[in-house]
């Protein structure tokens, strides 16, 4: 639709103000920042605010970065699926494939000084925040080179220096925590924001509204992002929520509904939200609510989709049809969208893109091999990191007479 429109007109040379690179002047794509303007797939829908324009500015470098990042995330998640089936990953494993555009679009709008906190579907967000494949696979396999040294597992990835605060297993808990991060940012006078991600299932949690109320009341630089993949575990949104219009659930808090499969739309929305939260954005885009003061908090709903089931123990097909899943894959896959955009603008050939994907397959395989070599944590690690500061606590193992240690 929007993409094919761009494709035809780009060849016609008649179009203004779209800026196109003609193939004869092609720069190496990875450093080319010549602006390209693209329309998002669908317009934004606003709640108590004027939504941003659906015309997004991007450039070849960014588009290729989007493609690469999403392709890598996709490859990692598929590999994790195989590792889980091979019993190298144990316990819980919640895969993100299908939702990559949210992670990648958000990163494009933020810096590493901004904070992101999410729930347990966290592998790709971790990668986006600067995590490596090795840290990821090693953690999934419970090895000491994992990002949490094997002690966290799939649901507990962290990267504090990249502004990633986990990785949380309790549904909804990450939202008050995220508002706490925003509180601390405001308190410390850092000009940064926090994005607190949650799912359509968590959207019904009471603590979310408690935290939202305080965030709005205290003007915290918090942006709540509902990754609506339409299913809370096995329960479709219409069976769990009286009002599945999650972007409206903030009531007095402005909201935006975004096509979460379109990385550029995600980027536009996150940029808009960040500027709004820091009060730098064009205030004209935002209209006050009746006589109430404007709030800084914003609530974004990302309309997205997960191809896998809720977790590796859920086939994902008992509560939705295979046709639905394959339909989304064909019509809305985030990687395919960017691929088409890149090809339409003549920024790379199909072969070049396929080569990149092949390269990533290799990278992932190498990382897995290295992760397999990584040893399991030393037994003494059972007792480390309980506290930051020891206070002479004796800790016991299962058999109190056999295993006992003083905390180091």
């Amino acid at each position: 639709m929007a993409l094919s429109h761009v494709a035809t007109t780009s060849r016609s040379q008649l179009l203004k103000p779209l800026t196109i690179i003609s193939s004869s002047l092609r720069h190496p794509i990875s450093t080319d920042t010549t602006p390209i303007t693209v329309e998002t797939s669908v317009p934004f829908t606003g709640h108590k605010c004027e939504p941003p324009s659906r015309t997004v500015e991007t450039n070849p470098q960014e588009l290729l970065t989007f493609f690469k990042d999403m392709a890598l995330m996709r490859r990692m998640e598929i590999a994790a699926d195989s590792l889980y089936k091979a019993k190298l990953i144990r316990g819980f494993c919640h895969l993100y494939d299908g939702q990559e555009a949210v992670a990648v679009g958000m990163e494009a709008a933020l810096t590493k000084k901004d904070c992101i906190i999410t729930a347990y579907r966290d592998h790709c967000i971790f990668l986006g925040r600067g995590g490596t494949l090795l840290e990821s696979f090693a953690e999934l396999m419970g090895r000491k080179d994992g990002c949490s040294r094997g002690k966290g597992g799939s649901m507990h990835f962290y990267k504090k220096e990249g502004g990633f605060y986990g990785g949380h297993g309790i549904v909804g808990a990450q939202v008050p925590l995220g508002c706490g991060l925003a509180f601390a940012q405001k308190y410390s006078k850092d000009e940064n924001v926090t994005f607190a991600l949650y799912g359509d299932g968590a959207a019904n949690q009471g603590q979310l509204f408690e935290a939202l109320n305080m965030a709005a009341l205290w003007d915290l630089p918090a942006i709540l992002v509902c990754e609506n993949n339409h299913y809370g575990m096995g329960t479709a949104e219409w069976r769990a929520a009286k009002s599945p219009a999650y972007y409206k659930r903030g009531d007095y808090v402005p909201g935006l509904k975004v096509d979460g499969m379109d990385a550029l739309a995600v980027k536009q929305a996150c940029k808009f939200a960040k500027e709004h939260a820091l009060k730098n954005g064009p205030i004209v885009n935002f209209s006050p609510v009746d006589t109430l003061e404007t709030t800084l908090v914003e609530l974004l709903e990302m309309d997205t989709y997960r191809y896998h089931g809720h977790s590796m123990s859920d086939p994902g097909s008992t509560y939705r049809t295979r046709d639905e899943i394959s339909g989304v894959r064909q019509e809305r896959d985030p990687i395919e969208r960017i691929r088409k955009l890149i090809l339409a603008h003549d920024l790379a050939t199909e072969k070049e893109l396929k080569d990149i994907e092949k390269e990533f397959r290799k990278d992932v395989d190498e990382a897995i091999a290295a992760a397999k070599e990584s040893p399991m944590p030393d037994p003494s690690e059972l007792f480390t990191n309980i506290y930051v500061k020891d206070c002479g606590l004796e800790v016991y193992g299962v058999d109190r007479k056999e295993v006992k240690t003083m905390l180091p």
């Binding site: 904070c115 906190i117 949490s148 040294r149 094997g150 002690k151 966290g152 507990h156 962290y158 990267k159 504090k160 605060y165 986990g166 990785g167 949380h168 297993g169 309790i170 808990a173 939202v175 008050p176 925590l177 995220g178 508002c179 706490g180 991060l181 925003a182 509180f183 601390a184 940012q185 308190y187 410390s188 009471g206 603590q207 509204f209 408690e210 935290a211 109320n213 305080m214 009341l217 205290w218 690690e381 480390t384 990191n385 309980i386 506290y387 930051v388 500061k389 206070c391 002479g392 606590l393 004796e394 800790v395 109190r400």
Partner: protein
């Protein structure tokens, strides 16, 4: 004004109950081992001064909770702090414990030092997921990346006549959680020194106060009044030395144990009273040394009984006596409430049993 409809906070109970007044007088006459102190301080003032000094010393410290600001604190523990430090550092919250406990933990993730007040620890149950899952376990799960320098404080245990939902003692619950430090001050020096230590500590601390102790006065040494004063976490204090039986207690029960010791002394039994101060970590060394000396142990607490020291089992001349709260939710009627909580005569009776001074009761079915 306040919609305290769901809270039976009885401000008048603080130092007006007959029991408290007699406790104070009795203790003061019977006490030994305190340095001659020029100053007396209530536990409430001790806590307030500790908060004031720590907020003054470190701009990262802030207070959050219900009525802590404009109301001056539900029990006046945070009195004057809003005026002094402003609304950015003393925050009145809505009545939403899950929300504000979570916000506090998130702020601690980022490096601030929140002091979160629960009006009573009964309400902490609304927030217990954040205390345990978001705070206590984070440093471990992230292998040291995400530390949580937070203090959760407030009154714990029974007050007077506040019924089942407002009287639970959480020492044993929180005390069994790895990743938490759990402190239970008794005297004003305890309150000052332990709260200052808790705020400075980089780990999550659950700080269990007691409403009925807030109004009690204790002498405080000049050392304790210094702004750098701190009591190390994890060390118990021998409040009274003795040689026949060890009595361990924490918080309000320390006062009861001391009174029991007085009563026992009249019968020729010399009881050693240990003020635990710290539930997690428990000062096993002090307790074991004492038990190995006296060969008899009576543990006293208001709530559900904690774990006991097994390493000194071989030194015991008599079975460990455990005085704890009755296995019932707290009843409201005053006589029933009295039966649900340890009284001084219970401690005396148990100590005598340990010393073979009374006819052992027939084993209950």
């Amino acid at each position: 004004m306040l919609a305290l409809l769901r809270r039976q906070i009885n401000f008048g109970a603080i130092s007006s109950s007959g029991l408290d007044r007699s406790l104070h007088r009795f203790w003061f006459n019977g006490s030994r081992g305190f340095a001659a102190a020029a100053k007396e301080m209530t536990v409430r003032d001790a806590l307030n001064s500790a908060l004031d000094e720590e907020m003054s010393a470190d701009p990262k410290v802030f207070i959050m909770g219900e009525e802590v600001g404009e109301y001056q604190g539900a029990y006046k523990v945070t009195k004057g702090l809003l005026e002094k430090y402003g609304p950015d550092r003393v925050l009145d919250t809505p009545i939403t414990e899950a929300g504000f406990a979570g916000i506090g933990v998130g702020a601690a993730y980022y490096g601030l030092k929140p002091v979160i007040e629960f009006m009573t620890f009964n309400f902490s149950m609304q927030a217990i997921d954040h205390i345990i899952n978001s705070a206590a376990k984070s440093n471990y799960m992230s292998s040291g990346q995400i530390s949580v320098p937070i203090v959760f404080r407030g009154p714990n245990g029974a007050a007077a006549g506040v019924g089942a939902q407002h009287s639970q003692c959480f020492a044993a619950w929180y005390g069994s959680c790895p990743g938490l430090k759990v402190l239970t001050p008794y005297s004003s020096e305890d309150a000052r020194g332990l709260l200052k230590a808790a705020i400075r500590d980089p780990d999550p601390v659950v700080f269990l106060e007691n409403e009925l102790m807030y109004g009690q006065s204790f002498p405080v040494s000049a050392e304790a009044l210094d702004s750098s004063f701190c009591i190390p976490i994890g060390k118990a204090k021998i409040e009274r030395e003795g040689k026949d039986v060890t009595i361990t207690a924490f918080s309000k029960m320390v006062g009861y144990a001391l009174q029991a010791a007085e009563a026992l002394a009249k019968e020729g039994i010399s009881a050693e009273v240990i003020n635990l101060r710290s539930i997690r970590p428990l000062d096993r060394a002090t307790i074991n040394a004492s038990v190995r000396k006296t060969n008899r142990l009576v543990t006293v607490e208001e709530g559900l009984p904690q774990h006991v020291i097994e390493e000194s089992f071989g030194y015991l001349d008599a079975p460990v006596e455990r005085i704890a709260g009755a296995d019932v939710p707290m009843p409201y009627a005053a006589n029933l409430e009295r039966m649900a909580l340890p009284q001084i005569e219970d401690i005396v009776r148990a100590a005598k049993r340990a010393c073979y001074r009374s006819v052992p009761m027939a084993a209950a079915a």
